[in-house]
Symmetry: C2
Subunit: 334 residues, 2 copies
């Protein structure tokens, strides 16, 4: 167990997880948990950095996100699922690391710069937001993670972590492990059912892992296709057509998809027919997820108990790191 | 005990404490401990904000500063002496408070602005330094302190704390106590023996509480007086003359001091005579401090044991605050 490489990953509990999360990261975690020692963090502290005024939203999504994890097949006997705010060592490390990074360096971080623009903070950037790459360095190093699965846009945050690790090790002796970013090969993000690049709650264009079968069918039947494809016999476009985008991602029968595309392009294949076909594919993907969710949800106390157990395990690991950090910094007094 | 108002105060363990600390704050703490529930923090985390590259210096001064406290008469049965880095709740509160303050607000803080100039950080301001008023808000509120003794120059930091408390209480319900700055009436800072406004280790111009009697005598005999006062019979200046500045502070016999001043000004009172007189006064002040130090120092293990006990008590108080904060922020899960 201890000789396995360590992965840290997680999500902000600000809403239910959707099939974009599933193909982008969750599916990968289910695979990785067999080869790696995997820590999955429900990042409530990070969620509060821009939801300070809305703690109920964060609170209400903790168990939901945990259920999403369990539903997709993240196995709590293989993966340690934990709640960030219950690991004080992360806060302690953040405070120490803040001394190793300049304000100017944080202001230059491309990820932070982009997100400050996106979130429209203007001149009112919360200090916690500017400092969040340092908090993430603490998240990662608290577990001495070797690998951190991230999107391309988050690579600068891992670079910041590596800088902090190097500075710490130079000042206090070799203590922290340098992590590596694990950027998925197939980095394309699944668009929403309306064809918009970003899938999200506020846009109302996501298929959630917690949606029931009828809701999924309804969403698929309303999918954005080719607005010029009026009559069945007309040729249709498959570029930007969500039905085919989703089939490319979810249908394992690539030959069948190629045939459908050709048929749609030359005319004679109706939107309803192809949507029904996609619906069947999606239900096959989602049904086992729904089944596992129902099992776990029927005993809601168990989810909290699992989180408590995972959090306890995570804290043991983080406190080992903190002990080493204290010794290195010579603040291990008693 | 619990109905007493709470005071938080402390020092950065970056060097031995001197008589400037004694008249400026330590003497006051000895008096306050009878009326208030007093917490005295050895601020090692804060000391590391600008000594990140020099952890040995911080480490080596922990017990020395504790000994200085005990030596002046801070009574560990009345006052809780503790080490900052052993209270993770302070780090946790800091992280939450960072979301309630903007970067622009921190950059406008007059104390921070002044100190950034003094320390010559230029463009390389450590993020931890910019954020230190937020850490101090965490120090203060972790103990729900009502009063914080500070110099006039630190008042903006208390104002920042009050702002954070108000924002927190508005967002999450009434949880934190608003502290008040306790600015000493007699705010004059004791100059160094060379007449320089600031007393400090690097300047070599301080009388330390841990100096032995001979060292104190030697320092007093080398004090800056009136460089124009060459012959005993000449008139001398008392303005800027450290012997009289110190007599004003330490000699309880104000009439005697007035007589000496008059004599010195009209001529006929030699520097050596008046320095010997000051030396007698200073030894009376310092001898009981040295005696208590010797008692505590003879059992060095005891000092660490006292710190451990104080830190344990402090942590109990801080964790009560943290529990209340967690409940208010709805992150009290288990």
């Amino acid at each position: 167990m201890d000789s396995k490489k360590i992965i840290l990953t997680g999500d902000r509990p600000t809403g239910p997880l959707h099939i974009g999360h599933y193909v982008g990261s969750l599916k990968n975690r289910v695979a990785l948990q067999h080869t790696y020692q995997q820590y999955v963090m429900i990042a409530d502290v990070q969620a509060l950095t821009d939801n300070a005024e809305n703690p109920d939203k964060v609170r209400n999504n903790i168990e939901q996100v945990a259920l999403d994890y369990l539903a997709v097949g993240i196995d709590p006997t293989l993966t340690t699922i934990f709640i960030q705010s219950c690991i004080p060592e992360i806060a302690e490390l953040t405070i120490f690391y803040l001394n190793l990074v300049t304000v100017a360096r944080l202001q230059r971080n491309p990820t932070v710069k982009d997100e400050i623009q996106q979130k429209g903070f203007g001149a009112s950037i919360p200090a916690g937001f500017l400092c969040y790459p340092v908090s993430q360095a603490a998240d990662i190093t608290a577990f001495q993670a070797n690998l951190v699965p991230v999107g391309q846009d988050q690579v600068p945050v891992i670079e910041q972590t590596i800088e902090i690790v190097r500075t710490f090790n130079r000042l206090y002796g070799n203590t922290l492990i340098e992590p590596q970013a694990l950027v998925p090969q197939d980095a394309g993000r699944l668009p929403g059912i309306d064809g918009k690049a970003k899938m999200g709650k506020s846009l109302g264009n996501a298929i959630y892992l917690s949606d029931d079968a009828d809701t999924v069918t309804k969403k698929i039947m309303s999918m954005y296709t080719d607005p010029g494809h009026i009559r069945v016999q007309d040729p249709g476009r498959i570029e930007g057509n969500m039905v085919f985008t989703y089939l490319d991602v979810f249908d394992p029968d690539k030959q069948k998809v190629a045939e459908l595309k050709a048929h749609y392009q030359r005319g004679g294949l109706g939107d309803i027919t192809v949507k029904r076909y996609l619906n069947d594919i999606m239900q096959v993907v989602l049904q086992p997820i729904r089944d596992r969710r129902a099992q776990y949800a029927s005993s809601k106390g168990d989810v909290l108990a699992l989180l408590k157990k995972g959090t306890h395990e995570a804290r043991q690991k983080a406190s080992l790191t903190m002990d080493a950090v204290r010794r290195a910094m010579k603040i291990s007094y008693f």
